[in-house]
């Protein structure tokens, strides 16, 4: 399926180089952000919150949620800004003129989003070590979930970048769809604590299963079927990937 491995590797390196060259805007902010979150919500406010049934303190509960939140925003923002700026300046032609299949193009562009997402997710975990005695309960599952989630949102970022005509449109998906789904997916609260109707609605939110999967792999605590979480992460990552490849193949807003 890969006929030009050097080309794919070059595109991957370029995407990683791009966000590393602006690390102050891409890699460091999640550290500051998660430090503040953990201090305010975990230490200052969290000690007054009593949790029943989860077996976790509030801080232990929100750390996996914060990891997913930064994983998603890092992956999404990386590919959306990289591809949109490439369209805006029209240097996307450098890639479109190259002997890369559409599968290879998406794979190469995806790399920056996945690597950035994984880096910021691990950063948040490292920050949590200063507040908690914590360890990854199931490292392989953790790896599975962070890779599949970053693939899903790196692809969503590319789709957003193709759809957007200007910078305000670029943030639309993030502000109106992704952030609400993430926050309602159980990042800061156990869904089981919601009213019954809200619990039922939450079960239609795919982010609920992705957050639950990561929370299980970090803490060992889960209130939904793990198999469903694994399946949803797999199906969405494959689905989003091939949908993005299809958009590239169609030349959607890439070719006139």
């Amino acid at each position: 399926m890969i006929t030009n491995p050097i080309g794919v590797a070059a595109l991957m390196r370029r995407e990683i180089y791009r966000f590393m060259s602006v690390a102050g805007q891409t890699i460091l902010p999640p550290v500051v952000n998660s430090l503040l979150f953990m201090f305010i919500f975990g230490v200052a406010v969290g000690q007054r919150i009593t949790f029943h049934g989860t077996g976790l303190t509030y801080l232990e509960f929100i750390v996996p949620g914060l990891m997913v939140m930064h994983l998603i925003s890092g992956s999404y923002e990386n590919t959306s800004s990289s591809l949109f700026i490439a369209r805006w300046h029209n240097h996307i032609q450098e890639v479109l003129l190259a002997p890369l299949s559409y599968f290879e193009m998406v794979l190469g562009l995806l790399a920056g989003g996945v690597v950035r997402g994984v880096i910021v997710c691990i950063e948040v975990f490292i920050v949590s070590v200063f507040f908690l005695h914590t360890e990854i309960y199931h490292p392989l599952l953790f790896l599975y979930f962070i890779v599949t989630i970053s693939v899903i949102f790196a692809c969503a970022g590319m789709m957003g970048a193709l759809w957007a005509e200007d910078f305000s449109m670029l943030s639309t998906w993030n502000v109106y769809i992704i952030v609400p789904l993430v926050l309602l997916g159980g990042v800061f609260h156990p869904v089981s604590g919601l009213p019954v109707i809200a619990q039922k609605i939450s079960h239609f939110n795919p982010l609920f299963y992705l957050v639950s999967g990561v929370r299980y792999s970090v803490t060992g605590m889960i209130d939904v079927s793990l198999l469903i979480c694994i399946t949803i992460a797999f199906v969405l990552s494959i689905g989003f990937f091939f949908l993005t490849v299809l958009l590239f193949k169609m030349g959607y807003k890439l070719r006139t």
């Binding site: 300046h89 032609q93 006139t256």
Partner: protein, 243 residues
């Protein structure tokens, strides 16, 4: 590469931008090793034709082949054979010019070591070596033009497509680019050039095609064009434009 003596073959090409028909049954071919000038007034369809050859534009009907490979079905092979120097300066803003060439070569499957060497050679040849660590924004217009040529040549393509390569260049740079293009053509590269400078086409090219309102209005050997009158007069006559 297939053993084809025809570098570019376009048959019955039709292209619409919504309701506007940009190309009307365009048919022509460019032989291997030719230096082909593609002339026409602004908006005639020159860049659209180039974009269909390179795959940057889709088309409604017809076919485009590069050395016998169809640009839709075998797009990976055809892209490997083409180097494009576009009209606009569309360089990656995050990279220095040396990195830019190196990555571009990488996309074409050139190993990192070879890519770095080739980038240095081209920067030397186009007198940009001392600017290798700068970003393109720090370059003058003429330097950007040379960088665009370096980028088009970085993977040593068989066909070089140049969309107004000397527009905005001073005389010295123009002559230097002409000399280099002639040398490349003598080495066997097929060159497809669009220009508004009749002198450029007359000096460099062997074959000339004229497009107007999306249709090819005249095509042939340069000698036939200038047998009776100069190229400018032939161009004005073919396009129906008045002096």
């Amino acid at each position: 590469m297939r053993n084809s003596e025809i570098a570019i073959s376009i048959k019955g090409l039709v292209k619409y931008y919504r309701d506007f028909q940009a190309l009307r049954n365009v048919t022509f071919q460019v032989n291997r090793g030719d230096f082909f000038a593609f002339l026409g007034p602004n908006g005639a369809g020159k860049t659209t034709t180039i974009n269909t050859i390179t795959g940057l534009s889709q088309y409604q009907s017809g076919s485009v082949q590069v050395f016998g490979y169809d640009t839709k079905r075998n797009y990976i092979q055809t892209r490997r054979l083409i180097g494009l120097c576009a009209q606009e300066f569309n360089f990656d803003p995050y990279l220095s010019i040396h990195q830019l060439l190196k990555y571009q070569a990488g996309y074409f499957g050139v190993s990192a070591f070879q890519a770095s060497r080739r980038a240095d050679e081209l920067l030397e040849r186009f007198q940009l070596r001392d600017k290798r660590n700068l970003k393109h924004r720090a370059l003058s217009g003429g330097m950007k033009k040379r960088l665009a040529l370096c980028r088009a040549l970085i993977h040593d393509p068989e066909i070089l497509i140049l969309d107004e390569p000397t527009a905005g260049c001073d005389l010295e740079l123009k002559f230097r680019i002409w000399d280099y293009l002639k040398q490349l053509n003598n080495e066997g590269k097929t060159i497809f050039l669009t220009t508004h400078y009749m002198e450029e086409a007359e000096r460099l090219c062997k074959t000339i095609g004229i497009i107007n309102h999306g249709s090819i209005v005249r095509i042939g050997n340069k000698k036939d064009f200038i047998k009776e009158k100069n190229l400018e007069a032939a161009f004005l006559e073919a396009t129906g434009l008045e002096h």
